[in-house]
Structures are given as structure tokens and as C-alpha cells.
Symmetry: C2
Subunit: 453 residues, 2 copies
């Protein structure tokens, strides 16, 4: 419960994580009479829904980032603290970062989710995911290096492996990656190479369920799939990936097992709650679901601890529909705002009714002039949906300084069909040719342990 | 000389390096009847003069980069080849990249310059330089991490070391870095921290000679120094750095030796010709100067090899003034264009008079509304010079897709005084506190081996 502090010291709110949940909670508490400490590992908030555009060379990391200190520079009750929380002590009401401790009266845990490789963590090396700026730069390096390596490769089999992109997971990230790589290969890069024809690129999108974008209406899934196929993407639904190793992905549809030599395998499948979920479970006895998400109460606190909130991707909130709310930005944002408001009301002796998510709809970009938008009462496809997607994302970027810059870049990319941010940076500038499995693509092999996507 | 090829095959021009020299040579030869192979380690051309703005959080790497394939996508006689040249064989007329060889009729070497630590290469770790995108991101990480670490530090001495920035070298890069860090500390970040006052930041600019910006008129050096001092930068001229180790820089003015504890030491001092200079010297017997630059003939070829050109920062061209031309973008650009023209004329049996550099003047940005411009006949300072600096840089960025984006970012930074690109990325998100030498700053110690800046 809210413990009154000695000497009328201000109520101390500690927020762990500067994603959408933490950011909007801190914003709701900005310039109020509580003290806020916002802890993050990074010095910036990241607009994750656009990370795929960094990975595919359209935007720069800074275009979709907001320095946390800059966001709160005018809110003098807000302290940004750079660091990684290692533990919490709910009895002493302290957050622990290595040797340091930060006391709290109210704690908001908003540390989000990580990739899940369904227990096959060794796949990560061969099939990187997309959660951080470094992930996006590494993905960008792999994608553009693959074309460079294909340009140099003389062996047709190796060349085909370099020109084969496999995306595991048919949710929004997988769909948006597949669409962006298709436009890259079949449009942007078409004139850029001399030895290869980039239109020979193969892009495979592997989906575990029976349709891509399972969170939107089936009719829109169908439109999205048709649009992607028209762009040149090969979609496999009801498909389980059974193995990923260096340059080769194995998957199973029904009883048929297929091996695809591919130099660029991208992971857009499972997510799991971040490590702080386990810490909370250990220290407070709260229950987590099978994906490591913390089961929260109707007011987003955890069982037995009215002063600990869990919000965003780390929270399993099932009180509204019986199913957990999806791990998307609008849920985290609304939860952050709710908790910020509730904390203020509590200090005045009031409370709030339980959290209620206002569904703002779902949308996915497929390509130039192509998107799908599901607002429940209204469904859009094609150009109209694409314009809507743009407007919504520009609206959300309002919180960022970067709106104009992003709009200009999008406009410029649209006109020139170019991608200016396609730098191969970080590790070595280009991939060395590596031998791939010499089996022909799509060759049936023995069944291996299936893993559900 | 130009060797006619069998079967009337096109004349093969190989260009090593996609900096200003190589890029403009390739542009001069675009869509002509020669074959051009442009070899670079990276897949993009980098506008190095603006790299300091990446290091200090104003621009993103992609804003000052142009994908090489994109630049030459419409020039079908130009092949971009990603790779690192390990050797050349001037007898066989071949360029060697590991196992691969590329034959040439004419070779243009434009591999530029690297940092020189004057034989003290172990300083590099503690005082990184600024030549590549990775350098800039590392410098950015160190600068912004230093403020973050200072915010957490409780020991006043340590805190002061985190808030002390030492820039070694008073040329354009050093001056521009010092000015940009001063604006960062005294303006941009002023409201962003809660425990530290960033106006306590100390910025030292160490210069070997008797004035900063020695390449421009003395009157402008004076104005630049005064402007920097007004911004808060401490300038030491006639200063030799005698030692750099972890968190401490030692320098000597006359007989006085000073030690400064500093967590952020940045190197903007010497340059030396890249490794290809040595390769050329070994294989062709051409002479290099003390900085490793190749002594070139009046037409930019090397002695005894009329079909090997060396241009840009790697070339020592002293035929015009008796002194080597400076290692700046306009020299490289004009040399690239000259060589491109000369190759075409030669194939028609003609030639060109010796290379002549048209001096376009020198300029350096100091801060908001502050720059110095030396056009010889006209000298500008203050706001006028700053506007001129902007126009010139926007003009040069014309070759890039990014002009509008950069202009918008500059305008936005100007209005808000913010720096949106201040991401701490790459390695760990923040520096751990490290013990610094406990001697008081500016403490005189024993003389050590002086090194001329």
C-alpha cells in the first residue's frame, strides 16, 4: 500500500523501462508532486514499430528514437537514471542495480519482452531478431551484405543461397520485413548490380498458423497475403520450423519436410516476457504465464502488492476479454497513462475503476501504396490503408522531434524509390562466401523435431 | 603507358577507394567507353567533413553517406566492387584482393589517409580519432556516456574527470569538435541532468603550433580562438602531448608539464597516408614523404608508371606551391575530375597540361551563428561566415540524396537547440566509473618524452 513518508517527503515512483509503457507513465506523472525516477538501460526511447524500416535501409536509428533526458528535460520532478536493474526487494521497497539501490514507494515495471526461440536459443546466431537498434543494424548488415556476396559469387547454388531470404513468423514484423525486402530486391536494387539479377531473389515467409497477421480480420489476412504474393513473397502457412543452422533452415508442413539453403534467416516469431518477470515471480510470488508474462490484477498491480504495477508487453492482462491483451504500443501507452493517473488519485485518497483497453485497431504496412488496416467497424486495404498507416505513424511520432525528418525521408524514398540508409556498418563490411549445404532447395529430408512457430 | 587491349576490348580503369577522389574520378568516367571498377571496403561514400556532427549527436551516419551502388546505378560501365585491396602487381597490371585479382589498364589509387599517433599507437585506445562511421559512433558513445557517468558519480574528482573533454589537435576537426561539445555542454544538455551542472564541463583544445586553424589567415585564427573561448573552450597552443593513458593526458608547454584527468580524450591531430602508399612504394619504387604520402608527378601519375595515378589525401602534390596540397575534399575532388578527363583524352591520343588546384578557400564551423571563412580575397566571420558555411555544405551535399533531410535536421536543431541523434549505441550503454589518477588537475609533474602535435 502507499506508505506515508517521513517529513512529508514526496512520494517516490520508480519506473523500470523507457518503452511505451514506462514513457507514458512518466509523462502522466511529469510536473506533479511525486518524484519520478525512470530507469533504462539505454539513453533513448525507441519507436519499435518502425524498427523494420531501419533494418531494411529506409530510416536511421535516430529517426525513430527520442533521447529520454530530452523528453523530460522540462519536468523537474523526473530523474532519468541509466542502468540495468538486477533485482528488486519488495519488502524494503528497493530496486537494486548492482551496488546501487533506489528506494520506491510505488514501482512500475515496464521492461517489455524479448525474443523467444522456443528453447532453441542456439538458433539466435543464425536467425537474429529485431528488438533493439543493434539488432536492426545487424539485420541491415546481413541483408545488404547478402546481395553484395551474391554479386561476387560464381557458384550458382551459393549465389541462390545468398539471394534467399527466409523470415520466420507471419505477424506484423514478419509481414513488414517481407514486404520491405521484396521492394528492395525487386525495385530499389534492380539497377544497382552488374553480375546478379536481384529479381531472382526468393523471399519466404513462414507462418505457424493457418494465416498471416492472425490478430486482424481473416478477410484482411487474405488481402495481405495476396498483396505480398503479388510483390513476389512466397508464403508458407501451417509451417513449423524444425531446425536452423548456419545457412540452412528446415521446416515442416504436414508430413513434408523441406530444407532451404539461405544465408539470411530472420526471426520474427515468438516473444517472451523480459527477465524482470522472473525476478518479480521469485520475490513477490506473482504468477507468470507460459511466455513469462506477469499475470496482473484488474488495476495492473500484482497480487498482494498494491504498490507494484506491471504494464506493457511484460503484463498478461486478461480481465477484459479473457485473453491477454496483445503486446502492442497502444496497450502499453494506455496502461502507462492509467497507472500514472491512478498513482496521483491514490495520493488524494481516491482510486480508479479497473483498466480498460480502448482498441485502436491493427494495421500492417506491406509495401508502396499497400497496407491493411482493421479498425473493427471499418476495414481498409491498398492505397487508402497505406495513407492511413502513414498518418497514424506520423501522429504517433509526434512525441518525437523527428516527425518532419521521417516524413521527408519517406517522401523522398517514395519519389526516388531509393533507400539511402543502407549502410553496411559494424562488423566486417561484407560477408565472406561460406559453403552451403549442397542439397537442392526444397529437398525432402527426414523428419526432425517440429517446433511450433 | 596505355596498352591497347586484344579484340578492341574496352579500356579497364580500376579505382581503389570511394572517397572524394575516387568518387569524382568514377563520375568523370561514368557512361564513357571505358570500363570502370570502383573498389571500396565499404558500400557507401562518406562525407567526412561532417563526421564531427555524427560524433556530437546532430546527424545520423546515413545523412552524410551515399550508397556507392546507388550513385552509379545509371552508369552501366561502372562496376562497384566491395573488398579490401591487399596488393598490386604493376607488371601484370593487376590489383589483388586476397584470392581475387582484377586486371587494369589504368589504376587510380585514392585510398586516403588514416590517423597518425606519431608512433604512439597505444594512445589510440584512450584517444580515438574520427575517420569512419564506426569512429564517429564510438566518439558519440564516449561523449554522451561521460555526461551519464558524471550524473551518477559522487566523488567530485571523478566527476570532474568525467566532465573534462580534451581534444588533441587544433585543425578544422579539432575546432569543430570543441565548438560542438561546448554547445552541447553549455546549451543543449543544460536542463537535462539533475545531479550535475553541465556548465561545469571543461573543454580543452591542445594545439602544437602557435595558433589554431593554421591553414587559414592568422586574423581568422584569432577570431576563431576568441569565439571558442567565449563559448567556454580552453585553448592551449604551443603544446605537445607527451603521454596519454587511461583517463589521463599529459602535455608540455615550454618546460611546464601538466597532467589532466579526463575520461574523454579525442584525437584530431596527425594523419598519415593509408597502407596502399607503402604497397606502391614497394612495388613501383615510388617515393613517399614522412607522412606516408606518395610523391606524385605533375599529372598525378607516379614515377615510371604513366598508368598509375595517386590522388586525394594519399598524394603529395607539391608542384604548384612547393608545399603539398592540403588533405581536403576540394583537392581530392578536383584531382579525381582531372584524372577522369585525362584518361579519356589519352584514349583519343591527346593529353592535358599538368594538374592545377583551384583554391576554393577554407572554412570552419565553430558554433551556432559562428564560423570563419577564408576565401583569400574575402574573409568572413560570425553569422555571415556561418551562413556561408551552411550554403557551401548544402551545395556539396547535392551529390547526396540527403540534402533536404540534413537541412531540416539543422533547421530543427537550430530552433530547438536539441540534438536528436545522441544515441549511445554499440558497446555497453554507459561507462562504468573507473578510478582516475588522484593528482589534482593541472599539476606539474616530471618532464616526459615530448611529442609534437
Amino acid at each position: 500500500m502507499v506508505v506515508p513518508r517521513e517529513n512529508n517527503a514526496p512520494h517516490e515512483v520508480v519506473i523500470i523501462g523507457g518503452g511505451f509503457g514506462g514513457l507514458y507513465a512518466a509523462k502522466a506523472l511529469a510536473n506533479t508532486n511525486v518524484n519520478v525516477t525512470l530507469i533504462d538501460k539505454r539513453n533513448f526511447h525507441l519507436f519499435q514499430p518502425l524498427l523494420y524500416q531501419v533494418a531494411t535501409g529506409t530510416l536511421s536509428p535516430a529517426d525513430i528514437s527520442a533521447p529520454l533526458r530530452s523528453v523530460f528535460s522540462k519536468s523537474k520532478n523526473t530523474k532519468v537514471f541509466l542502468g540495468e536493474v538486477s533485482d528488486i526487494d519488495p519488502k524494503k521497497q528497493e530496486v537494486i542495480l548492482g551496488d546501487e539501490t533506489i528506494p520506491y514507494d510505488t514501482l512500475i515495471v515496464a521492461t517489455g519482452a524479448n525474443h523467444s526461440y522456443f528453447g532453441k536459443d542456439h538458433w539466435k546466431e543464425f536467425a537474429p531478431g529485431l528488438k533493439t537498434v543493434e539488432d536492426a543494424i545487424e539485420m541491415r548488415r546481413r541483408i545488404f551484405s547478402a546481395f553484395e556476396a551474391a554479386e561476387k559469387e560464381t557458384d550458382p547454388k551459393q549465389r541462390q543461397a545468398f539471394l534467399t531470404f527466409v523470415i520466420v513468423g507471419g505477424g506484423p514484423t514478419g509481414v513488414e520485413l517481407a514486404g520491405a525486402i521484396a521492394e528492395l530486391a525487386y525495385k530499389t536494387l534492380k539497377e544497382d548490380f552488374r553480375n546478379i539479377d536481384t529479381s531472382e531473389t526468393r523471399i519466404l515467409l513462414l507462418q505457424g498458423g493457418d494465416r498471416i497477421l492472425p490478430h486482424i480480420a481473416p478477410v484482411l489476412s487474405k488481402v495481405a497475403a495476396e498483396s505480398l504474393q503479388k510483390l513476389g513473397v512466397i508464403i508458407h502457412t501451417n509451417t513449423r520450423v524444425t531446425n536452423i543452422e548456419n545457412n540452412i533452415v528446415t521446416f515442416k508442413q504436414g508430413d513434408e519436410v523441406t530444407e532451404i539453403p539461405s544465408k539470411t534467416i530472420l526471426w520474427a516469431a515468438g516473444v517472451q516476457g523480459s527477465a524482470m518477470g522472473k525476478v518479480l515471480a521469485q520475490k513477490t510470488g506473482v504468477e507468470c504465464d507460459f511466455s513469462g508474462r506477469v499475470i496482473v490484477e484488474p488495476n495492473l498491480t500484482i497480487k498482494d502488492y498494491k504498490n507494484i504495477f506491471v504494464i506493457g508487453d511484460l503484463a498478461n492482462f486478461s480481465h477484459q476479454t479473457g485473453k491477454p491483451l496483445p503486446g502492442v504500443a497502444p496497450v502499453a501507452k494506455q496502461q502507462g497513462e492509467y497507472v500514472g493517473g491512478l498513482i496521483q488519485l491514490r495520493l488524494q485518497g481516491h482510486t480508479l475503476p479497473e483498466f480498460h483497453y480502448t482498441d485502436v485497431g491493427s494495421l500492417a504496412m506491406i509495401g508502396q501504396n499497400l497496407a491493411v488496416v482493421d479498425l473493427g467497424f471499418i476495414k481498409l486495404t491498398g492505397f487508402l490503408a497505406w495513407v492511413f498507416w502513414l498518418i497514424i505513424h506520423i501522429y504517433f511520432l509526434i512525441e518525437f522531434d523527428t516527425k518532419i525528418v521521417v516524413v521527408i525521408q519517406w517522401a523522398w524514398n517514395y519519389i526516388t524509390r531509393n533507400r539511402r540508409s543502407r549502410l553496411i556498418t559494424g562488423k566486417e563490411a561484407f560477408l565472406e562466401s561460406q559453403p552451403v549445404n549442397n542439397n537442392s532447395p526444397y529437398q525432402a529430408t527426414e523428419n526432425k523435431q517440429p517446433v511450433k512457430l
